[in-house]
């Protein structure tokens, strides 16, 4: 078969990942554009999609917000909330999960209350934390922390408990102390689970931050954020700007998980995870 006879799909398959990635995004935008303008072009209105602004309009709206400092402040605000909540959750969650895994008394005392609190969705904590914490900012940070914390702990616990017992036996036979066992076997053995927990936790953190920003109306004390950006676009009736906010979150989430992947890649040369 010659090149010219290949279908679009078949010729795409042979390309590099980058070319394929860019092409798929372009195709997606094309379908979106056609779908959104169906009414204008063909006189056929596609339900729901007909209301979505076409990518060209969104692009124009994007160009409008990019020079505005407020838009970038929203990025900074959301990112710093996500990072604060996430990092605190990692700092408390990893040792807590490891302790639950290695010490049966600790597990006996702390696991039951943990398991009762875990199923409560982070957003259900919003009203209580708004009342409990003195500032909006602190309640958002707290709820964000919860979103990542439970996921990280449960992953660390599961990962540490699932370590092949042969590794522990082998290490002990070779004369490893409890200290060696913890730092050289249990910790590296749990690392893949820690990163799984971090990746999932990061996703949840973004969800929670956005929702919390919308609910608490970040504007008054909370200082905006991307969630508030979307909410105020909605209040202002700018459909394009809502989509700009949504895409911004998509990019922000992608950047965060890429960062986690990168760190995981560097820390675990034996395991090219994701």
């Amino acid at each position: 078969m010659t090149n010219t006879n290949k279908t679009v799909l078949a010729s795409l398959m042979g390309q590099t990942t980058l070319v394929r990635g860019i092409s798929s995004i372009l195709i997606f935008l094309m379908v979106w554009q056609i779908g959104a303008l169906c009414d204008d072009w063909f006189g056929v209105d596609i339900l729901a999609i007909g209301l979505v602004p076409p990518p060209t309009d969104v692009f124009v709206a994007f160009l409008e917000v990019i020079p505005k400092i407020g838009y970038w402040q929203s990025w900074v605000a959301s990112f710093s909330r996500v990072l604060t909540g996430f990092i605190v959750a990692m700092i408390i969650g990893i040792p807590f999960g490891l302790l639950l895994a290695v010490n049966r008394y600790f597990r006996g005392i702390f696991f039951p209350p943990f398991e009762i609190l875990r199923p409560i969705p982070p957003l259900a904590w919003v009203p209580a934390s708004l009342i409990f914490w003195p500032t909006n900012e602190m309640s958002i940070a707290f709820v964000t922390f919860l979103g990542a914390f439970f996921t990280i702990v449960i992953n660390v616990l599961g990962g540490a408990r699932a370590i092949n017992i042969s590794y522990l036996r082998a290490a002990q036979s070779m004369g490893a102390s409890q200290f060696d066992l913890f730092w050289k076997i249990i910790l590296p053995g749990t690392l893949p689970s820690i990163f799984t927990g971090a990746a999932v936790g990061m996703g949840i953190t973004w969800e929670v931050v956005l929702a919390a920003e919308m609910i608490s109306g970040g504007g008054t004390q909370g200082g905006g954020g991307l969630g508030f950006f979307i909410w105020s676009s909605y209040m202002g009736g700018s459909l394009e700007q809502i989509v700009v906010g949504m895409i911004s979150i998509g990019i922000a989430g992608y950047l965060s998980s890429s960062a986690i992947r990168k760190i995981g890649y560097l820390l675990m040369p034996w395991k090219r995870l994701f």
Partner: protein, 282 residues
């Protein structure tokens, strides 16, 4: 230790006397080993053959100190490992285990894995341990794979590295639990030759669990056939084929005769185990 010494003069003699092990999870008594006795001389290659799930691994775990025993005693070079007063043996580098499914640490390179023992025991500095590990791996034909992770090498190489990791600790006894189980026949052949070469060089006592009868005879000085659960010694077959052995040994008349003898004893137990519906214990 030199290979010129007679077996009985070497270290690593294991004496297993009347060992019984009862598992008692939630009151359900399961007798895994019942009054089992074996004498293993220092520097002997002792092969344990028996049906799946019969309690061979339990016996190995008791020697290694992973499990307690219920009755009886185990001595290593006349020193008590475990007995009535001391149901569980201390884990120690004098008895190194090579596990059924392999237990190289996936997060360490082959060289780091091998260097682990001397490093944590502090018998060698980190640098010396690494260089000794490198030398020993090279000796085992793994010189080009020092910086590879276990996940990057074949199962045969990983197993070989694991044996090196055990040997660097200078153990008296090497405990192998079906180490070549999942390997194809050709790889197995290569692994056997390399193990025999290692044995001829070090003269370490080998306690080797297997299902593979040809493997048992090819490698062993003695083949202990054990019964289905609870595990008891049924018959011991001495393998008087001279060392060093090569794969041609396996087509000799003597080898075939021994194989038939072992097969007969094992088959009976295998049938019993099958009829009892024993599940394979991991």
């Amino acid at each position: 230790m030199s290979k010129n010494m007679k077996i009985s003069e070497r270290l690593g003699a294991l004496s297993i006397k009347n060992v019984t092990k009862v598992y008692d999870p939630e009151g359900v008594n399961v007798k895994a080993v019942d009054n089992c006795s074996m004498e293993i001389e220092g520097g002997e290659v002792c092969m344990i053959v028996g049906p799946s799930g019969c309690g061979k691994t339990t016996l190995l775990n008791s020697i290694a100190g992973f499990h307690s025993i219920t009755e009886g005693s185990i001595h290593l070079d006349n020193e008590l490992l475990c007995g009535p007063e001391k149901p569980i043996a201390a884990q120690g580098a004098d008895r190194m285990v090579v596990f059924q499914h392999g237990a190289l640490f996936p997060w360490k390179t082959l060289q780091e894995n091998v260097a682990y023992g001397p490093t944590v025991q502090k018998t060698l500095g980190a640098k010396e341990a690494m260089s000794k590990a490198g030398d020993m791996l090279a000796e085992a034909g793994l010189g080009n794979f020092l910086t590879r992770y276990p996940g990057e090498v074949s199962s045969g190489m990983a197993r070989r590295a694991e044996i090196v990791r055990a040997l660097i600790n200078d153990p008296k006894v090497l405990l192998l639990d079906e180490p070549y189980r999942a390997m194809d026949a050709l790889t197995k052949q290569i692994m056997h030759e390399s193990l025999l070469e290692t044995y001829d060089r070090t003269g370490v006592t080998i306690f080797f669990i297997t299902h593979d009868l040809e493997e048992a005879i090819f490698l062993g000085d003695k083949v202990h056939i054990v019964t289905t659960r609870p595990c008891q010694l049924k018959k011991t077959v001495e393998v008087k084929i001279p060392r060093p052995r090569s794969y041609e040994t396996q087509s000799s008349e003597d080898f075939r005769k021994l194989l038939a003898e072992v097969n007969e004893a094992v088959h009976e137990e295998a049938v019993k185990a099958f009829q009892a519906g024993e599940r394979e214990l991991a």
